[in-house]
């Protein structure tokens, strides 16, 4: 990562933090939810770069959320860092098993089977009385390293933790994408046979990506659960996963900041649309999705890329004119 983009990310992080803390309660809530979803979408984007569309990230999103719920309510562990760690461990453990089966599939099959696995969890949770069946249950307010701000004030704490987490992980994801294993994803998308000829293991590349994506989704779910104070099985329903795919497509896959910007945009739009047009929100989403597929297949971030390129071109033209 260039120093310039690092600085850009850092500025973005600080800006998000300051804005988030200064904004009224409901908007900083929205911000934190967007951070949580941004983490999940980051995982979706990792898979998308390998040509895989997961319609089942809701599985790990829900697992992360329920881990937060169970730990705070039933085990009475409230420390944010401990909860995050446990939810990553649980998500990764589940992904390590499911991944063995799932990573054999590509394209629509990968999409559908990931969807099916998230529906298994949904089916189990809906019928589980202890975990509140369809209603879910409440999550107690969290603490950080022995400091507990108490209910009502913990949302700012979660926001700070979430923003730091998101930007740290975004930088790590960037580094990963520039590693051999990270580039492997694009190679797999382009031509699997060649990857195998070159001595790479296609299965391993995809498996690692799947597990990373699961860990990210688990953390995203935990953040969402802690800030909203409630979990329900709807988080594992396939439409939730569809939303993540939508955000990933909308943001684009060419930069790690795209999913984060995308989910902030998405959450803001949704809050607005829910208030103005509750029955046409999905329709707007659908039309937007079609428009993106048709006119902006690389997502909104491609506009940023295009803008940058045109700046560069202009600079170069000027230079060549000057030398001529």
């Amino acid at each position: 990562m260039t120093t310039k983009s690092k600085a850009l990310l850092l500025i973005l992080a600080i800006a998000t933090l300051v804005i988030g803390l200064l904004l009224p309660q409901w908007m900083s809530y929205l911000f934190t939810i967007a951070m949580g979803k941004g983490l999940v979408v980051l995982g979706v984007v990792l898979l998308m770069r390998a040509g895989l569309v997961s319609f089942g990230q809701g599985l790990y999103y829900c697992v992360g959320a329920y881990v937060a719920g169970v730990l705070t309510q039933f085990v009475e562990v409230t420390d944010v860092l401990v909860i995050l760690m446990v939810s990553v461990i649980v998500s990764v453990a589940i992904a390590a098993i499911i991944g063995l089966l799932l990573c054999r599939y590509r394209e629509i099959f990968f999409a559908m089977f990931s969807l099916a696995f998230s529906m298994i969890l949904y089916g189990l949770l809906v019928r589980n009385q202890v975990l509140g069946s369809t209603d879910g249950f409440n999550v107690a307010s969290p603490s950080l390293l022995g400091w507990s701000p108490g209910p009502g004030n913990s949302s700012d704490m979660v926001l700070v933790v979430a923003v730091i987490l998101v930007f740290t992980l975004a930088i790590l994801a960037w580094r990963y994408l520039n590693s051999l294993s990270g580039y492997g994803g694009e190679a797999v998308r382009e031509n699997e046979i060649r990857v195998e000829y070159l001595g790479g293991s296609v299965f391993k590349i995809i498996y690692v990506k799947y597990i990373i994506a699961a860990g990210l989704a688990g953390m995203g779910g935990t953040v969402t659960a802690l800030v909203s104070g409630h979990v329900d099985p709807e988080m594992a329903y396939w439409t939730t996963s569809g939303e993540f795919v939508f955000i990933a497509l909308m943001g684009g896959t060419s930069h790690v900041a795209a999913p984060i910007v995308g989910s902030v945009l998405f959450e803001s739009l949704r809050t607005y649309a829910f208030a103005v047009a509750p029955y046409t929100w999905q329709m707007i989403l659908g039309i937007a999705l079609l428009a993106i597929i048709l006119f902006l297949p690389s997502g909104l971030w491609s506009l940023v890329d295009r803008f940058r390129k045109s700046l560069d071109d202009r600079f170069k033209n000027k230079k060549s004119r000057d030398t001529a």
């Binding site: 040509g51 569309v53 319609f55 089966l101 054999r104 599939y105 394209e107 629509i108 999409a111 559908m112 089977f113 969807l115 099916a116 696995f117 529906m119 298994i120 949904y122 089916g123 189990l124 809906v126 019928r127 589980n128 396939w238 439409t239 569809g242 795919v245 497509l249 029955y279 046409t280 929100w281 999905q282 329709m283 989403l285 659908g286 039309i287 999705l289 079609l290 597929i293």
Partner: protein, 298 residues
């Protein structure tokens, strides 16, 4: 024994319902290579238009028995019309794109249709219980069954047979199978592939809407039924093998029986068991039970 019979009957009813839904989905995939996520919305559309028309029909005080034709007719007309709209208005511009992109496109159609249904029919539940009551109930060895459910089994057998006949014993069916086998060669041989696509999509969405209409009398029609149904249909076609009608039939029977067993013995596992069966089948036969063999193209 009693429980066994109950499971058998409930399972068959559920299986025939699943088969009607999945037949359209698997047909569209087999011919067009499009995994139609909006299939559930056609189901919902059929349920809504059928229920609304039947509700209206009974206020006119006409012959009650004819309400079955109103139910089915309304769903078919609406399903085929909207299918035409979607295929001609949108999908045909997308042919030749990646299968994954087509999933996303049909997902967009699903989102749009879900809200369109809410805008047209409102969010209040619709009831069309009259045809269901009309058929009455019958009982053997102490178990009571709704006769309407047997009608459902009959209709699904009818649909299965006509699909089989249409595909295997008619000229158009033969052309369709050529397209399934190899789209490019079919085009080179002078078959109008785009026309076949349109017809297939219309048949598929028509059957989807029909499935919705047939379910409408047995439950209340509420927003979101389409979204619930599509994942079940996915499970069925995946077990049977995408694109295979026989596969859809076997998949529907397996899922139907598994669910009925779970409901009667251990209801907590009702949804779980469907996907567990699916996972089990896939662990041993990744392409499903009856997948059409694909020649590898270089």
């Amino acid at each position: 024994m009693k429980q066994f019979l109950a499971i058998l009957v409930d399972g068959s009813v559920y299986a025939s319902w699943l088969f009607i839904i999945s037949a359209g989905l698997t047909l569209i995939f087999g011919v067009m290579r499009i995994l139609n996520m909006s299939h559930g919305s056609f189901y919902a559309l059929g349920a809504y238009s059928g229920a609304a028309m039947v509700g209206w029909y009974f206020t006119t005080g006409a012959v009650p028995w004819l309400s079955f034709f109103v139910l089915i007719g309304a769903a078919l007309v609406v399903g085929v019309f909207v299918g035409l709209l979607v295929e001609r208005g949108l999908l045909r511009f997308m042919y030749g794109r990646d299968e994954v992109v087509m999933i996303l496109v049909t997902y967009a159609v699903l989102l749009i249709m879900e809200d369109a249904i809410k805008l047209i029919f409102g969010v209040e539940p619709y009831f069309a219980f009259q045809p269901y009551m009309l058929m009455g109930r019958s009982s053997f060895i102490g178990l009571s069954f709704a006769n309407y459910d047997f009608l459902l089994i009959g209709v699904s057998i009818l649909i299965g047979l006509s699909l089989w006949y249409g595909l295997n014993r008619t000229r158009n069916g033969k052309l369709l199978r050529v397209v399934i086998h190899d789209r490019e060669i079919a085009g080179a041989l002078g078959i109008n592939v785009s026309k076949i696509f349109t017809i297939t999509f219309l048949i598929g969405s028509g059957i989807g809407a029909l499935a919705g209409a047939l379910t409408a009398p047995a439950l209340s029609v509420v927003p979101g039924i389409g979204v619930q149904v599509i994942v079940l249909a996915f499970a069925v076609v995946v077990i049977g093998g995408l694109g295979s009608i026989t596969g859809a039939l076997v998949g529907a029977l397996i899922v139907g029986m598994a669910r009925a067993t779970a409901v009667h013995i251990y209801p907590e596992l009702e949804l779980f068991v469907i996907y567990a069966v699916m996972g089990l089948v896939l662990a041993f036969r990744p392409q499903g039970l009856f997948a059409i063999a694909n020649a590898r193209k270089i």
